[in-house]
Symmetry: C2
Subunit: 335 residues, 2 copies
């Protein structure tokens, strides 16, 4: 057997922790032989939770951490002061080479800050973006950056395009994936100062498949594989996805209660509609990777169930097996 891929899980993070984190870890280990999981958190809590399952004892280990960083805590302060928290301890395991990857459904802020400060960036990487997959009519696109580096500069966005290309090629298996920059019009001369500065740099970048600007209205149709933008914009895009979809479904449901005819129709479409909306959901895709770090950091949403925790952990296996960090280093250092 080759060496195991070691994933440090913030077992205390997320709305459903520790139930979902422990169950997700057990399921992940059952599904992949290449994996070892460290459950980082309050020892007695995790031992009790874990005692309900049967699993390969060599491949799940509890690492005690007595503190928990809450969702609302200011991230920088929390990372600095709560040295014995599950987030900080799990991140140091990656930094010290005791784990290859980190997964958390806890505080996004603390994970983003800890990723940059504790795990640390790969040599040559100036900023590490958070890059979730978003659903489109054609499948998925990678939104990079969706929240890690507000007020990024043009050269950062070029690095995002390169890192996104490595991810989509090697994890999603898309050959020569298309890259577009979010803009307020399709023409090259449009945009704010950042986009105007970044556009020619992307255009002249030889090792990406840059196809120009993308207007936000064309993102959900799947016009480009990699959507490059500054983090504030990316966060707005991600949250508009969530907000518009939720609101529209509410409005449709209400509308279908307005006549007997459509009430009956609603009953008939219920199952297929649920399946369709499930496929289009942001949550299906599990965790968002933070790229460009010395190990993989995966942030999965706060309400993650065991399935999403499991998928996020399994993502770490592919990521490590595919040597994404090494490939990112190589691509970033190309001129």
């Amino acid at each position: 057997m080759s060496e195991l891929i070691r994933v440090a899980v913030d077992a205390m993070g997320g709305d459903n922790a520790p139930v979902a984190t422990v169950k997700g870890a057990v399921e992940a280990v059952a599904e992949s032989n290449a994996l070892k999981v460290f459950l980082v958190g309050k020892k007695e809590v995790l031992e009790k939770e874990l005692s309900a399952y049967s699993y390969d004892k060599d491949r799940i280990e509890i690492v005690n951490a007595t503190e928990v960083i809450e969702m609302a805590e200011p991230p920088v302060l929390a990372i600095r002061t709560k040295k014995d928290s599950s987030i900080v301890k799990a991140m140091y395991m990656v930094n010290h080479g005791e784990a290859d990857a980190y997964v958390s459904a806890g505080s996004t802020g603390a994970t983003l800050v800890g990723g940059q400060i504790i795990v640390g960036r790969l040599k040559g990487v100036d900023r590490a973006p958070l890059a979730p997959l978003i659903p489109t009519e054609k499948g998925n696109s990678l939104l990079i950056d969706c929240g890690a580096n507000v007020d990024a500069r043009a050269n950062h966005l070029v690095q995002f395009a390169k890192m996104g290309t490595v991810y989509m090629e090697n994890i999603m298996g898309i050959k020569n994936p298309t890259v577009a920059i979010v803009n307020i019009g399709a023409e090259e001369e449009k945009g704010n100062a950042l986009v105007k500065e970044t556009f020619p740099l992307l255009k002249n970048c030889p090792d990406i498949n840059f196809i120009g600007s993308i207007e936000a209205r064309d993102i959900p149709s799947g016009y480009a594989d990699i959507i490059v933008c500054e983090a504030f914009t990316g966060n707005v895009i991600l949250k508009m996805y969530e907000g518009v979809a939720k609101s529209l479904v509410n409005v449709i449901k209400k509308g279908l209660m307005s006549s007997l005819k459509s009430k009956i129709g609603a009953l008939l479409i219920k199952d297929d509609l649920k399946k369709t909306l499930g496929n289009y959901s942001l949550e299906k895709h599990g965790g968002a990777p933070m790229l460009g770090l010395k190990g993989l950091v995966v942030k999965t949403h706060g309400s993650s169930s065991d399935i999403e925790i499991k998928n996020s952990i399994l993502q770490c296996v592919t990521f490590t097996e595919q040597k994404i960090s090494e490939k990112i280093s190589a691509k970033i250092s190309q001129v």
Copy 2:
């Protein structure tokens, strides 16, 4: 009879011009006695189109303009060189006091540039934002700015909040409307440099009802009446509305074809669904006003029908009767 409110319509602008612009003008004049419309464009074309209708000859007048600014033309150049275009001529009518307001379904860029350069800003107004109404679960919110001033500064955003307040109070009849700034988190310390600078200014502004940050996911639910943001962000929000809604409807339609049961259901819900989606559509709201100018400039979308042209023209009547420009001037000059 009191003095008529005079609206200069870019009769050549939009996908359906001049059919929709002429028909919309005839309908608007029939609906409001307080109105006079100038149809600006190619005289012979408009005369021919207008000859099909019966209308009050004193209240629709053709103003000849021999050129047309196309959608794809670079706006600044077009405004400078096509002096005899329908857009430039109609805007000069407002600037010269021959018209109170301007309506166009043509080039957005040329309308935005012309608004600032030709119509001109009210004294004290630093930037004139484009402010469409967007549909929410509760009704409408005003999105300000959605595309006129990329890279705006903090003091501009404060003016947008004030102008939006005047609009929502006087046009939409909302007493003490709530104002929120688009941010990537709800906490005061979150945000990019612009938001961090703007937040305390809005908080200390005595004559608006500022309720703090709004995350993009809460915009469609109707959390705030006035959504303040920089134009690049606003444009992304507006276009995500359009894109996600369109994509989701496509995905749902496709999903409903996946079984016989839901195919039958789909037939039953068809009418109510169409009505519901129509109510939630961005297009229902007609034109977006550009606020803070010496006369009202309304930009309605390129595919406007006669109904939307009519509604945009009638909006000018309310706007002028309510003396919005005077009220904006007064509010902007308050400290």
